[in-house]
Amino acid sequence: MFVCGLDIGAATTKAVILNDDKIISYAVLPTGQSVKRAVDKVIDEALRKERLNISVFDSVFSTGYGRHSVNFADRAVSEIICHARGAHFLFPSVRTVIDIGGQDSKIIALDGDGNVNNFVMNDKCAAGTGRFIEVMANVLEVSIEEIGKLSLLSLNPCSISSTCTVFAESEIVSLRAKGEPRENLIAGLHKGIALRTITMGHHIGFSKDVVFTGGVAKNAGVKKFLETIIGTKILVPEEPQIVGALGAALLAKAENFKREVVLQTGPGPPY
């Protein structure tokens, strides 16, 4: 049984193809201006890797901000549910997911079956998300791939007080003008992101195991500060960006789960 999960995020669009319980292919591409174009391209790429045709899919579920724009998807599911499912598939011991994507961040508390018990999500401001890091990388003339590693070199992270992307940028420019080393500035930014994330999730807690997903999970600096502040080791999947799409694919496959909920609550959209 071939199923596909699509995660149309603010920054990137991801596709995961499952055959039964095995990930057989995936792709990650920038979302760009057109969701439709991004979806077509990402599916093509994922299919091409395994020389498959789109007709192979028994079911397609979509998630992410653009989930309702995918006309051919059998169902659109919120990314919070999908990240929980995907993280649980990769790490069955997970009880907390920290997901930091292009423009939002979420803390999700899970039960032992990968169901969402509780969650929090930023919604007023993009500070502390992938976009924030991109802006700062640009200001500091560092590539997004290098920024995490550079922060690990810092022995004395700066204190960046502003939570606003624009004001934080001004603060960075000012500190840099005073001669503050770049790695300290980057480490300060990463520490700020970790603190904001933890403050947001404080009331639902960070039960072990904690899994870090989304594009920002590739950033070793943010991960280090999260681990230090929470006081526990954080697990990061090999490809943290595809966890939402993986969850969507798993839900597409789990027909029994879907039917169970629908039957009990009628034809409304229980996801």
Binding site: Y65, V77, S78, D123, H203, V261, Q264, P270, Y271
Partner: protein, 470 residues
């Protein structure tokens, strides 16, 4: 007549339209509402509301009529009095009643929010003028007060002759009145209240709080009447209270019907009916009672047939108030399969206080007001919310936390902690503005609401009652 279709859609019959024709045309001209705006409004009413229900349509029509009354009030030689939202129940009606048709006493911003916001979608420029003149954006300042300032500045509504300023609930209404006093020299009557209370004091009402509030109500009523050149008399007060209670009994019946599974109508439709009680001007009150009396048998019929906008067994939640500037949030909630049989502001807490134990009419008023909880404390809001969970068989709480409302700044978070710990049901806090939808993202909200709907459905399937039970 380009406005006839909209008015008929909103429950006006031909004779009423003909009777009010010159007034309608003058008001629509002043508001710059032409054929194009009427078509847009029709579309919004059709898409936004449950137009199979004549009671809901009539309620929308009462709001439009109320708006026309405000626009034309000064031109029609009336003295105009404004009070803030949430108002002291019935005060506006009582003041209007002693005026014998020559005084219009209303909360204009709320009427504008429904008519020019929800129905005509033309409110943002008014809020922006309010921000330019008095209340800058991004500073936890209430959109309703921005609307009042913006609408007066733009000449949409008249500068009032008197302000009923109070801090019963919020300081911002009083501050808006200060601004109007300073800029336009409008006189005011100030009524104070003591908000501080001991946690867990509720449902016992401290006699000193009742007598203090009653004193403020009585003094305010007498002073306002004198300033308007009228005689305050208890018969008018009593007569108005009876009319008010009639409406309240209707609300109570509707609340009873909303306990059905499925609830017969979505909550956002009921808000436009229920708020008529607090806000609409006195001469429209019989129309408001007609709207609610039309709605009740329609809902009874649906309950009898077991139908509603959602299927039986859908998860049920309460909220404080569903954003009403437009119906988008209400529709996202409904599409996520979540029923909202009751909101805090429509809970029939106070309808059970039809016969307060106090002796004077002012004390009875004060006792009722404090009993509602809103003017009492966060612990009182929590008390009634817990009761709603029990009475309406709720599965969770979807609390709309108004980020620009200072009195409500912490209540949602206190409530979340208490409800999750004490009742073991999930609470989702949605940060919104009930009257201004420029400041939150519908898409972010959709993700949260859909996830919450899933969470509640999954818990229902598993028969779970404790979110910590895993």
């Amino acid at each position: 007549m380009y406005y006839v279709d909209l008015l008929k859609l909103c429950g006006w019959d031909e004779s009423k339209i003909a009777r009010e024709k010159p007034r309608l045309e003058e008001a629509f001209r002043l508001l710059d509402l032409g054929p194009e705006e009427m078509k847009l409004a029709e579309d919004r009413v059709i898409k936004g509301y449950d137009i199979d229900l004549m009671g809901v349509r009539k309620a929308l029509g009462v709001w439009i009529g109320g708006m026309v009354d405000i626009i034309l009030s000064k031109r029609e030689g009336k003295k105009v009095v404004y009070y803030s939202f949430p108002p002291l129940a019935g005060m506006g009606g009582r003041i209007s009643a002693i005026g014998e048709g020559k005084i219009l006493c209303v909360c204009p911003e709320f009427v504008i929010d429904i008519v020019l916001g929800a129905i005509f979608d033309r409110i943002d420029p008014i809020i922006e003028v309010g921000e330019e003149r008095a209340f800058p954006p991004g500073r936890a300042l209430c959109a309703l007060n921005k609307i009042r300032v913006g609408a007066i500045t733009k000449g949409i509504i008249p500068v009032p002759d008197l302000l009923l300023a109070s801090s019963f609930y919020c300081d911002q209404g009083g501050q808006t009145d200060e601004w109007l006093r300073e800029v336009y020299g409008v006189p005011w009557v100030v009524m104070d209240n003591i908000m501080d209370s001991t946690w867990d004091e509720f449902p016992n009402l401290a006699p000193k709080r009742i007598s203090y509030m009653a004193g403020e109500i009585e003094d305010g009523w007498i002073e306002a009447a004198e300033m308007l050149g009228r005689k305050p008399n208890e018969e008018v007060w009593e007569a108005y209270s009876n009319l008010y209670n009639k409406f309240t009994q209707g609300v109570s019946k509707i609340n009873h019907l909303m306990r059905a599974d499925p609830p017969p109508v979505s909550q956002s439709n009921l808000q436009v009916v229920r708020f008529l009680r607090n806000v609409i001007n006195y001469n429209r009150f019989p129309e408001a009672i007609d709207a609610i009396n039309t709605l009740i048998p329609e809902l009874e019929e649906r309950v009898k047939k077991g139908i509603g906008p959602l299927p039986k067994g859908s998860p049920r939640v309460t909220s404080f108030l569903i954003p009403q500037r437009d119906q988008s949030v209400a529709h996202i909630i409904e599409k996520a399969g979540i029923a909202v049989p009751i909101t805090f502001l429509s809970y029939d807490a106070y309808t059970t206080m039809l016969n307060p134990s106090s002796t004077t009419i002012a004390e009875k008023s004060a006792q009722r007001e404090l009993w509602r909880g809103l003017y009492h404390s966060t612990s009182a809001i929590l008390y009634w919310t817990k009761k709603a969970v029990e009475d309406f068989n709720l599965d969770g709480i979807l609390w709309t936390q108004p980020i620009h409302c200072r009195p409500m700044a912490s209540s949602g978070f206190v409530l979340k902690k208490a409800i999750e710990e004490e009742l073991g049901i999930p609470v989702l806090i949605l940060e919104v503005d009930w009257y201004d939808n420029r400041i939150f993202s519908g898409e972010t909200m959709r993700t949260k609401i859909e996830t919450f709907g899933y969470l509640l459905s999954a818990r229902k399937v598993k028969g779970k009652t404790n979110p910590k039970g895993n």
